[in-house]
């Protein structure tokens, strides 16, 4: 079975909610919709305090090339535009809306009927994806329309669809592939059309045999889309690792996938593209896994953007007594929440609740130079060396040792028998080295 070659780890999978059917979460009483939910510049708020908005109405406009529109996920009244602490722990500008009813924009097709025929041409597809605020739902939330505009001189050969879901615990993509497979495949065809490629591959890890079977069956009716089962290994969902695993190409250091003729999109993005193009529906809801060993009812919810995390936790049976940590995302790359009022955003794939005994880091011991971090690094770096260089503020050397290639997957810290917080040092090092590089470019 295919997989990437360099490094990788295999944490306990703990897919507790794998067989839980997606439940539509009842509308919350209020939502906080951050205006900066994607990579790139924050969008500009276009509604005022007191305004009444409909579900799907534009509330913040992306004004630079890399930024995305934000739409109201509910109907109701704009209470204020104020800061909210989001999953990153930082304050971000958000539109606070009190939910009144659920009145949608008329342009949105809410019928359950699947629209298979793709009538939109390439330009329309890209324009619509931009207008309806579709961003990458894999976690990095890169605005999708940008990915579809292949730079001059480059050619897209393959579209890769990321159904790997290599993060332990998370099952949102798994359920999506099982329950929204047909829509997703139409979305993939739309993406193929926009890119002008004839071949798409869906990479799925072998711990989801039902999804692999189901999509293989559905693919019979969709030309040029193949399912590629992959050996379970973290971080296979990393863009570069997925490309290596599926088409055996290596994206050169510091370059984008298009350099090797590939464009990668998440399965969730493909579904969002379907809904945008075929149903005129902006990106206002997504599937979120709420899970954890102590959670009463591990679930997969269809959630409106802006819903406070606490609402999701309530729906999954409430916050367990011995909770020590609440994570937005998976256990390997997710962020520990500072507030349970943080809203679900476009990039929220899961809420993971860790019991107290699993929330504290292990004691940090001397490095025993075992080299396990080097073996685990999927980018072929030496985390032990990079951490040392960062600790000693030797950022030029860290740059020469390619610290900027680090994808922050956390395999090094995960695997360290001495419990050293390698990724903490690497993040610091990347931050400072990045600053160094930007200053050099400015000069």
């Amino acid at each position: 079975m295919k997989t990437f070659t360099l490094g990788g780890v295999h944490p306990e999978e703990n897919k507790l909610s794998a067989d839980k059917i997606i439940e539509v979460l009842p509308l919350p009483e209020k939502v906080y919709v951050p205006v900066s939910q994607s990579l790139g510049a924050p969008s500009k708020v276009v509604v005022e305090k007191g305004a009444m908005v409909k579900t799907g109405q534009l509330i913040a406009k992306g004004e630079s090339f890399i930024s995305a529109n934000v739409h109201s996920p509910v109907s109701g009244k704009v209470v204020k535009v104020d800061d909210v602490i989001d999953s990153s722990g930082y304050k971000r500008q958000a539109v606070f809306i009190d939910v009144i009813g659920d009145e949608w924009e008329e342009s949105i097709d809410r019928s359950p009927e699947i629209v298979s025929e793709i009538t939109a041409d390439r330009d329309t597809i890209i324009k619509k994806i931009n207008a309806l605020g579709v961003v990458g739902l894999g976690g990095a939330t890169f605005p999708s329309h940008v990915k579809l505009m292949v730079p001059d001189g480059k050619k897209a050969e393959y579209l890769l669809i990321n159904g790997v879901e290599c993060e332990p615990y998370l099952t949102a993509d798994h359920r999506l592939m099982l329950e929204k497979g047909e829509e997703m495949l139409i979305g993939i065809s739309i993406l193929k059309k926009a890119l002008g490629v004839s071949k798409a591959f869906i990479g799925i890890e072998s711990n989801k045999p039902d999804a692999i079977e189901h999509l293989k069956r559905l693919c019979a009716n969709h030309q040029g889309i193949d399912v590629i089962p992959l050996k379970v290994k973290y971080p296979q969902g990393g863009e570069k690792q997925l490309i290596k695993a599926v088409v055996n190409r290596e994206v050169p250091s510091g370059k984008l996938p298009i350099e090797v003729g590939c464009v990668v999109n998440n399965v969730g993005t493909a579904l969002a593209v379907y809904e945008a193009i075929q149903k005129n529906k902006p990106l206002i809801e997504r599937i979120v896994t709420v899970t954890g060993k102590s959670v009463a009812k591990p679930s997969n919810f269809m959630v409106r953007i802006g819903t406070p995390v606490s609402t999701l936790i309530e729906a999954a049976g409430g916050l367990p007594e011995n909770t020590g940590k609440v994570i937005s995302g998976g256990p390997m790359m997710g962020k520990a929440l500072t507030s349970l009022e943080a809203p679900v955003v476009k990039g929220t794939s899961g809420i993971l609740i860790m019991p107290a005994e699993e929330s504290k880091r292990t004691q940090v011991l001397n490095c025993i130079r075992c080299g396990r971090c080097i073996t685990a690094c999927p980018m072929g770096l030496e985390p032990v060396l990079l951490a040392q260089l960062s600790e000693n503020l030797l950022f030029e050397r860290a740059e020469a040792e390619r610290i900027m290639d680090c994808i922050e997957c956390g395999s090094c810290h995960y695997t360290c028998p001495a419990g050293r917080p390698l990724l903490d040092y690497l993040r610091l090092g990347k931050n400072k080295t990045g600053l160094l590089i930007r200053n050099r470019v400015k000069k």
Binding site: S253, P331, L365, R369, C370
Partner: protein, 335 residues
């Protein structure tokens, strides 16, 4: 509800810890411990006990009273050093020499550099080589083991190791075949099982291989150093043997006699003093294998494993610098 913990990702951690690695090595040494007690009797247990207690004691006293820092003697590393030091000395070694060896291993070999993880050389080998050079007589008067199955001869009798017999014979002008035909020569089976004169832990290749298998399965060590070490030793000694089988020992005897298997799996693989990348580990292993055979064939000592590993330990930082892992996206090959 109590406050939530905030920390950077990742939020889960592997089960393997420094402790589990160290105690895993100790478990892997148990077969060889049994073999040593079987062949050398209570003396072997005495050496092991003194060496282990000595190493733990010196680490404790240095950490507590000299460094005045945290005491970490329960991390298992001093225990490993203690057993390995005992494995590298004869079973009749006087107590005070063993304790001196433990002091040098822990005090000079390990703590003087900053403790676990900081030592450039394998601490047990530092102690062993110190003793070998300082007390050559006591360190090379090997008690004869009892027969493989049956009664032992008296404890007082000492004799040379397999490699010692071979070296002496060759120096006296005999051929390898003449030496090996002698009835007192242990031979392949005895060397495999452990019925040969030698240091405590090195005598039975079979017991050591059992432990090595355990470490490989539990992912405590990887195959790179052992495979490269054995591979280069076999190839190099094999070439010499093919050139002149009367003057050079065959590769199999090289593997079974002396401390090769002990060194390959339990000391060359010491993660602190060996290279960190797979490429580097292979270079390290090849170098150690070559040096071992060179010392055995042309050196003054019949055995060369300790020196070979220590010399390669010295090269470890250089190897780490020279043999970087293969970077992702470094070689762009498409298709």
């Amino acid at each position: 509800m109590s406050l939530l913990t905030i920390s950077g990702s990742p939020h889960v951690h592997t089960q393997q810890s420094v402790k589990s690695i160290m105690y895993g090595v100790v478990i892997a040494m148990i077969p060889a411990i049994f073999v040593s007690v079987y062949f050398f009797g209570i003396d072997a247990a005495r050496v092991l006990l003194i060496s282990v207690l000595g190493c733990l004691f010196f680490e404790w006293i240095i950490q507590k009273y000299l460094i005045k820092g945290p005491v970490t003697i329960n991390d298992g590393s001093a225990l490993v050093t203690g057993v390995l030091l005992a494995f590298n000395v004869p079973s009749n070694l006087p107590m005070w020499i063993i304790l001196l060896g433990a002091l040098v291993s822990i005090g000079i070999g390990k703590m003087s550099f900053g403790g676990l993880g900081k030592n450039p050389f394998n601490p047990a080998l530092v102690g062993r080589v110190f003793l070998l050079i300082s007390f050559p007589v006591q360190m090379t008067s090997w008690p004869m083991p009892k027969a493989l199955f049956g009664e032992g001869i008296t404890d007082a009798i000492t004799g040379p190791t397999t490699l010692g017999i071979l070296k002496e014979g060759l120096d006296a002008g005999k051929t390898v075949q003449e030496i090996m035909a002698s009835p007192t020569f242990p031979g392949y089976v005895n060397d495999l099982m452990g019925a040969q004169a030698g240091s405590l832990g090195e005598i039975s290749a079979l017991a050591l291989l059992l432990g090595a298998l355990f470490m490989l399965i539990r992912k405590i060590i990887t195959w790179h150093i052992p495979a490269a070490y054995i591979g280069s030793a076999v190839v190099f000694s094999g070439i010499l043997w093919m050139v002149d089988p009367t003057q050079f020992i065959d590769p199999l005897m090289h593997l079974l006699a002396g401390g090769m298997i002990l060194g390959v799996f339990f000391m060359a693989t010491d993660m602190v003093s060996s290279p960190m990348t797979a490429r580097g580990q292979i270079v390290f292993g090849v170098g150690a294998g070559l040096l071992t055979i060179v010392i055995r064939v042309w050196g003054a000592y019949p055995e060369g494993v300790s020196f070979a590993i220590l010399i390669m330990n010295a090269f470890t930082p250089l190897i780490n610098n020279m043999f970087k892992p293969k970077r992702f996206g470094e070689v762009v090959k498409n298709g």
